[in-house]
């Protein structure tokens, strides 16, 4: 049984310099309240693992703008000119990862796999410095598992055990990140009693979720 914490409490748990996975795709399905709280507490030196850096004022874009971030691992930063600018100025170190590889590296990190073998990126700059394995006459890139200190999820419903549901395209990276961090914090739209979410509707089992962000008071 979980006790709901405030977004401020969640932000306080995440120390400067932590690596943090954020669910969300151009801000859709991002934990906006915890992001706001991280900006408010003046977090510094975060490593962000996320699909993209959204736009200024939206999703993790707020963290970029507020100077909370020194490192980004993402598939796309083109929608946020501030990320581009800070990358060029050297303020933020950016590792670009193909979107499917990013999802799979996070999944590997969360499911105890030693790496990912993918055709994606073979023969491109993505393969630089990486091992290429020949398997049955074809080349596959060995991509390393990704884990983080924290995963910050946005869910639709949560029950008191932390079981989560998502809605439509707001799921995106959230379910896979739920497996891949030492501490998982979920910010749900709705919190419902245990038993309200049918077992087959649960997308993230509550055993993976360490803290739930409570509803606004």
């Amino acid at each position: 049984m979980q006790e709901g914490i405030s977004a401020e409490r969640a932000a306080a748990m995440i120390p400067d310099g932590a690596s943090v996975m954020f669910g969300g795709f151009l801000g859709v399905g991002s934990p906006e309240r915890v992001i706001d709280a991280l900006v408010a507490r003046g977090a510094r030196g975060l490593t962000l693992i996320c699909n993209d850096t959204a736009s200024p004022g939206i999703g993790v874009g707020k963290l970029i703008e507020a100077g909370c971030v020194t490192c980004v691992k993402a598939s796309h930063i083109g929608t946020n000119p501030i990320t581009q600018k800070k990358m060029i100025s050297g303020e933020i170190d950016v590792e670009l990862v193909p979107q499917g590889t990013l999802a799979e590296r996070i999944r590997a990190g969360g499911s105890g796999l030693g790496g990912v073998l993918t055709r994606t990126g073979v023969g491109t700059v993505v393969s630089e410095g990486k091992q290429v394995l020949e398997i049955d006459g074809e080349s596959f890139l060995l991509e390393m598992p990704l884990r983080a200190d924290f995963a910050l999820l946005r869910a639709h419903e949560a029950d008191h055990f932390g079981n989560l549901t998502y809605r439509l395209t707001a799921a995106n990276f959230n379910p896979v990140m739920a497996f891949a961090a030492d501490c998982v914090i979920a910010e749900p739209d709705e919190i419902v009693p245990v038993g309200v979410i049918p077992p087959d509707a649960v997308r993230t089992p509550g055993v993976l979720v360490h803290h739930l962000v409570r509803r606004r008071q």
Partner: protein
Amino acid sequence: MIDAKEIIARRVALELRDRTLVNLGIGLPTLVACYVPAGISVAFQSENGIIGFGEPPPDGMEDPHLTDAGGGFISALPGAAAFDSATSFALIRGGHLDMTVLGGLQVDSSGRLANWMVPGKIVPGMGGAMDLVAGAKRVVVAMQHTAKGQPKIVEKLTLPPTSARRVSLIVTELAVIEPTDEGLALRERAPGVSVETVVASTGAKLLLDGDTPTMSIECERVAA
């Protein structure tokens, strides 16, 4: 008079086949959805996690949980299926996507595509493009033939490639070109465009085989 983008979108739409799964890239490729030929039923995938989406909803009906890969509001069609990013790319990488339509910055004579960065100028990131080119059964590049007067179809890429894999087809407002083992084969030219114009606008050798037929752009615009 229809513009370059509409010509490209109309011609690409003729590549759609019934009962297939198709991913349209952001920008120009998205227009293809407006010209699906009559009698053809296509399921569109958006890599942020849905199959079966349609036009933007009426004003005031937007669902903040439902957008396409460009972040625009969409609607879900009856029979839509939603899924997470790992599943979305299992579909893409696993060969379950019949076709992807992507924009391009360059394609070279070996059929390799560059569409994700211009070193020192703009580095948006590859998003899902590298997985799409590596995994889709057919890769169609939908792009304008030239940029600022310079050919985008070149002998050898000067921009970083998106994949080592050869794309299936290039559709521009001037021509339809198919990369083959022998090189880039000119398959069709746009209405009113001469072969000479296509050749003059192309930075790579084109293989010509007798008469080059005129491309069809006959498909009707689907009502929004």
